[in-house]
Amino acid sequence: MAAVRVEEVLAAAEEQEAEKRRSVTVEKELELEFDLGNLLALDRNPPAAVELRGAGPRREALLRALARDNTQLLVARLWELPAERAGGAGGPLVARLPEPAFRLPREKPPPRPRPPTRWEQFARLKGIRRRKRTSLVWDEQAKEWRRRWGYRRAGGDPARAWLAEVPEGADPEEDQFARLRREKRERVARNELNRLRNLARAHRAGTAVPAAPLHPTGHQSREELGHVARVARVSTASLGRFQPRLPKEPVEPPSRSGGRKRRFEPLLGNLAAERSRQLELLRDMSSKKPVLDITRAVNKQLRQEEAEAAAAKGKKQSQRGKRGRRQQGAGGVSGGLGGPVPPSFAGTDR
C-alpha cells in the first residue's frame, strides 16, 4: 500500500512539473531566429491574417497574445545565457550578452590607413629597412651608458661644444659656431616643411573623391547618367560607330576622347615648333649615342636586383632559420644575433 502511495505522489509531482513547464513553453511551427546581442527575435511564421482583419479590441488581443508568445521565447533564451550576480552575492542577476550578430550598415566607412610619407615611399622603392638601434650607447669619456640622442646624450651636445673645427678651405674669419647653429636651424626647418607636406598629401588623399562618377547611389543625377551612357556607347570594338541611336539622342554624341583616334598637326601653323621637332629627330638619328633615359634605366636595374636579392634571401632564410634555431637550442648561444643588446652584456664584449 505504501508503494502505491509513493507512485501516486511521484506521478502527481511529475504532473505538477509538467504543468509548470506548460506555462512557459510555446509551440511554434517555424522556430524563431534570435540575435541576443540586440535583444532581437525574428518570427517568420505568417500571422493569422483573417483574424487580424477584425475589429479593434479583438485584433489588439490577438496581437498581444502573439507578442506574449514571442517574448516568452526570447526571454527563455535570455535566461539561458551565462549569468552572474553583479557586485557580490546580493546584487542583481546580470546576463552576459553575446556580440550583436544582425548586420547593420555602418555610420561611416572604415577609417583609411595613413598613406605612406615621401620617405616611406622612397625607402620602399629602394628596399631600405628600418634598423633597430639601442637607445643607450657607451660613452667613453663619461664611462657610462648614455642616451644616443637628447638630453645628456653620449658624446655631449654638439651645440654646446666649446670647440669647433675649422674645415679646410674655409674662411678663417667665419664664426664656425654660428655656422653650425644656422645649419641646424635649416635642417629643423626643412624637416618641419616636409612633415607638413606629408600631412597635406595625406589630407588630400583622404578628402579626394575616389573615382567619383560611378559611385553607386540610389538614384543618379542627370549628368552622371549621361556620362555612364556615353561611356557605354563607345565601349564597343568599333568605338560605338555602329551603335543604334536612342530616340532623342543627338546625331553625333561627343565621345570620351572627343571622337578622334589620331591627332594631326594643322598644315599651316607654328613653323618654329615644327622645325625644332624635325631637327631634334634628325639629331637623334645621326648621333651615335643610344637614346636612353638614364635615371629610368638605373631605377629599373636597381629594382630588378632588389627583387632578385629578396627572392634569394627568402629562400635562404627559410633554410637558415631552421638551422639557426637548432644551433641555438643545442649550444645555448643567446643574444648577439640580433635585437638590442642589454648594456650589461654588451659592455663586457668591448
Partner: protein, 289 residues
C-alpha cells in the same frame, strides 16, 4: 608649399577632440537620431515624434547630418496628399542610404494608455513577426532600419530583471502594427519566468508608402566591416561537428622520477640521503643556458 596644400588644423585641444570624435572609427559609436518636424506636422505626427523627441522645421537631412553628426533621421509631416506622414531614414558617410515613408493610420500615444510605464532609456526587446519581413526586400530594409533605430546602445551585459519593454512589429496584409508592451515577469515554478504583457503605448498602425533604398552595391559597401574588427583565429584550438573543443598543448617530456606522489612520513628522505642524491645528480645536470 601652395596655399591649396595647406591643411586647416584645429587650433585648440577642444576642437581637436571634437573632430576626432567625428572621424570614422574602427568600432563605431551608437548612432544618433535627429527628429525633424515638417512645415505643417499635425498633432499625431508630432506626438509620435515627441515620443522620441524633436525640433527644427526645414528639411535637408544631409546638411543637418553633417552638422549634428546624426546618422538616423525621422521626419514627420502632414498634407492632403499624404496625411500623417513619417519618413524614417539613415545615412552612410553623410549621404542618405535608405529612406522609407510610412503613413500612420491609427495612433495611440503614451499618454492615452493609463498604465504604468517603463523608465526612459530602457533597452527594448525587439520582435518582428510575419513572413513579409523575410520575403519582401522593402520590408527587409524596413526591418533593418527599425532595428537600427530602436536597438539603442550595444551593451556587454544586461540585468535580467530590467528587461521590461518590448517593441513588437507585426506585418500583415500590407500593414505594419507597431505595439509596445511592458513586460511583467511572473513566477512559474521553474527557472524561466512566465511572461505577461501590458499595453503601454505608443502603438501605431503603419502603411508603407514610398521608398528610396540604397542600391545593392552601396548597401554592400556600407555593410563592409574593417579587417581589424574580425576576430583573429586562435591557434591550437579546434572544434568538431558536435561542438566539442579540442586543444593542442605543447609540453616537455615529463620526468616520472620527480613525480610528487602522496606525502608520507615513511617515504620521507633522511637528510644524509638527500645531500648524497644532490651531489650525485649535479654533475649529470645538463646545461640549461
Amino acid at each position: 608649399m601652395d596655399a591649396l596644400d595647406r591643411v586647416v588644423k584645429p587650433k585648440t585641444k577642444r576642437a581637436k577632440r571634437f573632430l576626432e570624435k567625428r572621424e570614422p572609427k574602427l568600432k563605431e559609436n551608437t548612432k544618433n537620431a535627429m527628429l525633424i518636424k515638417g512645415g505643417n506636422a499635425n498633432l499625431t505626427v508630432t506626438e509620435y515624434a515627441t515620443f522620441l523627441f524633436l525640433t527644427i522645421c526645414i528639411f535637408s537631412p544631409e546638411f543637418f547630418s553633417k552638422k549634428s553628426d546624426c546618422s538616423l533621421f525621422l521626419f514627420g509631416s502632414h498634407n492632403k496628399k499624404r496625411p500623417n506622414n513619417l519618413i524614417i531614414g539613415r545615412m552612410f558617410d553623410y549621404h542618405v542610404l535608405d529612406m522609407i515613408e510610412l503613413g500612420i493610420e491609427k495612433f495611440v500615444s503614451l499618454k492615452d494608455v493609463k498604465n504604468s510605464k517603463c523608465p526612459e532609456g530602457t533597452k527594448p526587446m525587439l520582435i518582428f513577426a510575419g513572413d513579409m519581413f523575410d520575403v519582401n526586400e522593402d520590408y527587409r530594409r524596413l526591418k533593418s532600419l527599425l532595428i537600427d533605430f530602436f536597438r539603442g546602445p550595444s551593451v556587454p551585459s544586461i540585468r535580467l530583471a530590467g528587461l521590461e519593454y518590448v517593441l513588437h512589429f507585426t506585418a500583415v496584409d500590407g500593414k505594419i502594427y507597431m505595439r509596445s508592451y511592458k513586460v511583467l515577469l511572473k513566477k512559474s515554478g521553474c527557472k524561466i519566468p512566465r511572461i505577461e504583457l501590458e499595453e503601454m503605448g505608443p502603438s501605431l498602425d503603419l502603411v508603407m508608402r514610398r521608398t528610396h533604398l540604397a542600391s545593392d552595391d552601396l548597401y554592400k559597401l556600407s555593410l563592409k566591416q574593417p579587417k581589424a574588427l574580425k576576430p583573429k583565429k586562435k591557434k591550437n584550438i579546434s572544434h568538431d561537428v558536435f561542438g566539442t573543443t579540442y586543444g593542442r598543448i605543447h609540453m616537455q617530456k615529463q620526468d616520472l622520477g620527480k613525480l610528487q606522489t602522496r606525502k608520507m612520513k615513511g617515504l620521507r628522505k633522511r637528510p644524509a640521503e638527500k645531500s648524497a642524491e644532490d651531489g650525485g645528480l649535479s654533475p649529470k645536470k645538463p646545461k640549461s643556458t
